[in-house]
């Protein structure tokens, strides 16, 4: 009987060692429990530095209702953005306008899912909008396409934040004022955003700027 016990224990240990050898541990449960875009509560503030000088402060102002849905209002400079982070989705209220004869003509307003939780390496998202409006008797058309790819988890480029996901965003906008003298105008914006657990955006890099988080203060519940 003792022999059987010994052999059983030894084989169990060998089996466990064999299964665990060459395998690595990573904080998957920490990432699952983290909020990668904490847009509440009110008062949360992110202060960013912009390379080449300047800073940008983003603050969660309050809760409000936009498009018949309760959401959080964030202020960045003089601009307001509206966000919902619930049911495993991060949604942003997209407010698209086309500049015509000195007026910002509203052409598309709606909630669009930006990211779905939990993030994982290799996720892709594609969103598109096609809309038209008539202003001063002229038809304005607007096409917007956003492709996003998630990579990670990784340490942020400045080495400060671990377990970040990098979201590469490519946004293309085609505005066409359909009257004589105007041609379709295409704008392409490419940027990378690093999201850190329970902090949110810690870095954003585009062709002409690099924005880095200098400080983060959580709001009061």
């Amino acid at each position: 009987m003792k022999k059987v016990v010994m052999i059983s224990v030894v084989s169990a240990l060998f089996l466990l060692l064999s299964l665990s050898s060459g395998c690595e541990s990573n904080p998957v449960y920490f990432r699952l429990s983290s909020d990668y875009f904490p847009i509440s509560p009110a008062g949360a503030t992110w202060e960013y530095t912009i390379n080449g000088g300047g800073s940008r402060i983003v603050t969660v102002v309050d809760q409000t209702v936009v498009g018949e849905r309760p959401c959080w209002r964030l202020q960045s400079g003089a601009d307001y953005n509206y966000w919902i982070n619930e049911d495993g989705r991060l949604e942003k209220y997209e407010d698209h306008t086309v500049l015509f004869n000195g007026f910002e003509v509203p052409i598309y307003q709606a909630w669009i899912t930006m990211l779905e939780w939990p993030l994982a390496d290799g996720m892709t998202f594609r969103d598109s909008v096609s809309a038209q409006a008539v202003s001063q008797g002229v038809t304005l058309s607007h096409t917007w396409i956003r492709n996003q790819t998630v990579t990670g988890p990784a340490v942020s480029p400045d080495g400060v934040w671990s377990d970040c996901y990098r979201v590469n965003q490519e946004e293309m906008s085609i505005n066409w004022i359909q009257t004589a003298g105007f041609a379709p105008e295409t704008t392409v914006t490419v940027r990378s955003v690093w999201l850190a657990p329970d902090v949110g955006m810690v870095m954003m890099q585009s062709a002409d700027s690099l924005v880095t988080l200098a400080s983060f203060t959580g709001g009061e519940e």
Binding site: I7, S8, S11, L16, S20, S25, V28, G88, A120, T124
Partner: protein, 175 residues
Amino acid sequence: MYKAAILTLAVVATVMAGTVNFVYEGAGITPIGGWGENLSNGLAGGLYGNWLFSDKFRAGLGVEGAVFGHASQGSVSFTQLKPMGNASFYLRPHGTAFNPGVVVAFGYCRSQLSSGNGIDPASWDPFWRSGIRWNFSLGSPWRAGLGFDLESVMASEKAGDAFRLTFSVSREVQL
């Protein structure tokens, strides 16, 4: 060569043992501590072979697989694979209707997240489990068991704690 030796040892241990209790166990898993915020409850199934060292005490090896989805998105799956060694002690091993017992298990857990068309790297971490069982007869040689466990996957930075409700069917085989 190394793996063949391990397999041989496992087979030798099984053949030399007297009586083995084979158990199939299904479980519902509820994450504790926030890591399941974007996941639904999990379902698990496992197979165990336990050597009867005495009427009351048994120990052996097992493997369990578990999968978690998402309450509203069909594209999320979180999987766990747990090879383990386990031991149990029952107070009334031949009780027809009431045979209470305790179980403990130690092993490794392979955890992997798939979300959308993305897959995160898998993580291997030690894990432990302990729980209680109410075992009863289904008519010889079959028995069944109900119980609940607390378990913890000891991953870095945050543990994957969970609560399990289990149902098992077992039978003893003389080798």
